[in-house]
Amino acid sequence: MTREIRIIPLTEMPAFVGALMQGRKVLAPTRNDDGLCVFAWLTAPEQADWTCEIPRVPPKQALLPRTEVLFRYHREKGKETVSPPPPPEPQVVLGLHPCDVQAIKVFDTVFSAEPSPDQPYLERRAMTTLIGRGFSEDGPSTPERLRRPSPLVFCRELGIDPMDNRDCDAFLVPLAASRMALEIMTDKGTALKPAYERFPPAVAEDRAAIAEARKLSQARITPPLDMAAIQRNLETIFNSDLWNRIHEPCVGCGACAFLCPTCHCFDIQEETQGLDGARVRVWDTCQFDLFTRHASGHNPRTSQKERSRQRIMHKFSYGVGRFHIPFCVGCGRCIAACPAHNDVRQILKEIHDLPRKS
């Protein structure tokens, strides 16, 4: 069976987005007042911006909000009453780069892992439709600024194809003559029919163009980094001098983790005001001293050295070891955001090139 594909002129995208917004919240790449690309909840269809490649803020807030109320409570006359938060609403994440899609796969893996699948996450995930978007430097309709992809994106080195439409409910592919092809991949995708049915189906030429773009993109996949070698090396260098060097320029902020599409650590906090209160889940990061500090004051990760190591280990060793999937998708956000200009690619290269100890 051939996949359903619709063709949407770029000028009609606001109409499509507007239709998506009927009864759904839509998270999409936008440009803020400073001109910075960020994933943000749309309040108007025109806000979706198709010139963004990897928005600075990842789409993870759709599934793991920065602040999530787990329940509320109220105290009166010495008694507490507890009330659950409202159930999640249907939502669409639009314009996902395939590496961000891969990141959501990491989330799915972690949050559904036994023995303690994360109910709030899974409930929210079930209500979420993912619309990916392909990026092809070779496509005739690719805007000029996207022809040269960000030098910081290294997803191809990790084996992720920026035209990959797997794991999406629908997928947008840029076509010539300022058009987008919308590939419908799943039932969730099909459920968007009211939004896309007014657009014409793809003709054979279009299908051929899409296939051609995919082929060119596939061909550009660089020999992937030897992730297995990296993981093997990591297992042996826990106490290596290397970490002394790596952490030194790091200032210990949380920019890399908060902007990383796969980082998913959180903290649980109490927010109280008078007799009312809420238990909330907020983003946290292993880069903060507070992250592992015990109530006693003892901290197993005393310095930035341990914390920097934890980040690399978690991304490239622990994740792979437990879930057989690296916790890095090569989006390059951490490189762009790092105020000390640390580059994870360099670190990976150093680890990869370490002389094997026999």
């Binding site: 200032v251 902007l259 105020p339 580059d343």
Partner: protein, 305 residues
């Protein structure tokens, strides 16, 4: 700045490291991204004595390679002074621009660095390229910088640069001051809504060196971590208060912010208030008394009933 020796950066670094005058050299190298420089921290071999190191050709080669990688030019935006906190008891040499040198003075004033263990390498600077402007302009903070030449240094690399006239107060801040409170609030709210509480600003700031920041304290808990903008406001307002009379205006917080929160507006405002009210400029004079450590019996009383 008193006249001191003009030297070549790499030669000096090589000598300081080779003679063991310093154990750590903090400078810049080319970053992996265009128009940027990254910090380069060079150690004499860790733990190894000077003699041992000389006998280790690998280490020697590594050291030489790193020294060769040292640069100083208009890409070197980071304020490296922040790294001094990491090497508190070590003998350190550090490359500082004019603005950064004020941070050193601030730290000397607050007894955070031992002058005897510190070699300051001044780097006269005409301004840093603003990478957000695609390399065509220098940063606003640099355009308005009153100290293009370091105020304190043991060595300088390059000749002093002319000091352009700078406005008493950033025109942008001045314009903002004139807006009605409602619009100033909108601006503040907008800036604060961008913040993701990653604390890069704090962690980059040389004047932020508390062992436990109030934002990380739990007893009592001053700042929440939610996306309610009031949490970011609490964090930044209190941090601004802590920097009152101490901020030197180096701009590290603004350049380092991944979300481009414009903290400069607020720091500039307070800095100009402190200068106007108490004639004080942070980081200019090591023996000057910071205004918030003092009082005047004739201080402004108008805002009090």
């Amino acid at each position: 700045m008193t006249a001191c020796k003009q030297v070549d950066l790499k030669t000096l670094a090589r000598e300081l490291l080779a003679t063991g005058k310093v154990e750590v050299f903090i400078g810049y190298q080319v970053a992996t991204q265009p128009l940027m420089a990254a910090p380069l921290i060079i150690h004499t071999a860790l733990g190894a004595s000077h003699a041992q190191q000389a006998s280790n050709p690998d280490a020697e080669r590594d050291l030489a390679r790193k020294v060769d990688a040292l640069i100083f030019d208009d890409r070197c935006e980071m304020n490296l002074v922040n790294y001094l906190h990491k090497f508190k008891d070590r003998k350190v040499a550090i490359v500082v621009k004019g603005c950064d040198s004020r941070s050193v003075v601030g730290l000397l004033q607050e007894k955070q660095v031992d002058r005897k263990k510190l070699i300051i390498i001044g780097a006269p600077c005409r301004g840093i390229i603003d990478r957000r402007q695609a390399g065509s302009e220098i940063y606003t903070a640099c355009r308005e910088c009153p100290v293009h030449n370091p105020v304190i240094a043991d060595y300088v690399i390059g000749a002093p640069v002319p000091q352009p006239e700078t406005p008493e107060l950033s025109p942008e801040v001045e314009a903002l001051r004139k807006l009605p409170a409602e619009q100033r609030w909108e601006r503040f709210h907008k800036e604060m809504s961008k913040c993701i509480l990653c604390y890069a600003c704090r962690n980059l700031c040389p004047a932020c060196y508390c062992k436990t920041c109030f934002a990380d304290a739990s007893k009592p808990k001053w700042v929440g971590r939610t996306d309610d903008p009031s949490d970011a406001m609490m964090f930044h307002l209190q941090r601004l208060m802590h920097l009152g009379g101490r901020c030197t205006g180096c701009g590290a917080c603004v350049r380092g912010c991944p979300m481009q929160v414009d903290l400069r507006l607020y720091n500039d405002h307070l800095r100009s208030h402190v200068k106007q009210e108490y004639g004080f400029m942070a980081g200019m004079d090591e023996v000057a008394q910071p205004p918030l450590a003092m009082y005047g019996t004739d201080d402004c009383n108008e805002f009090i009933r």
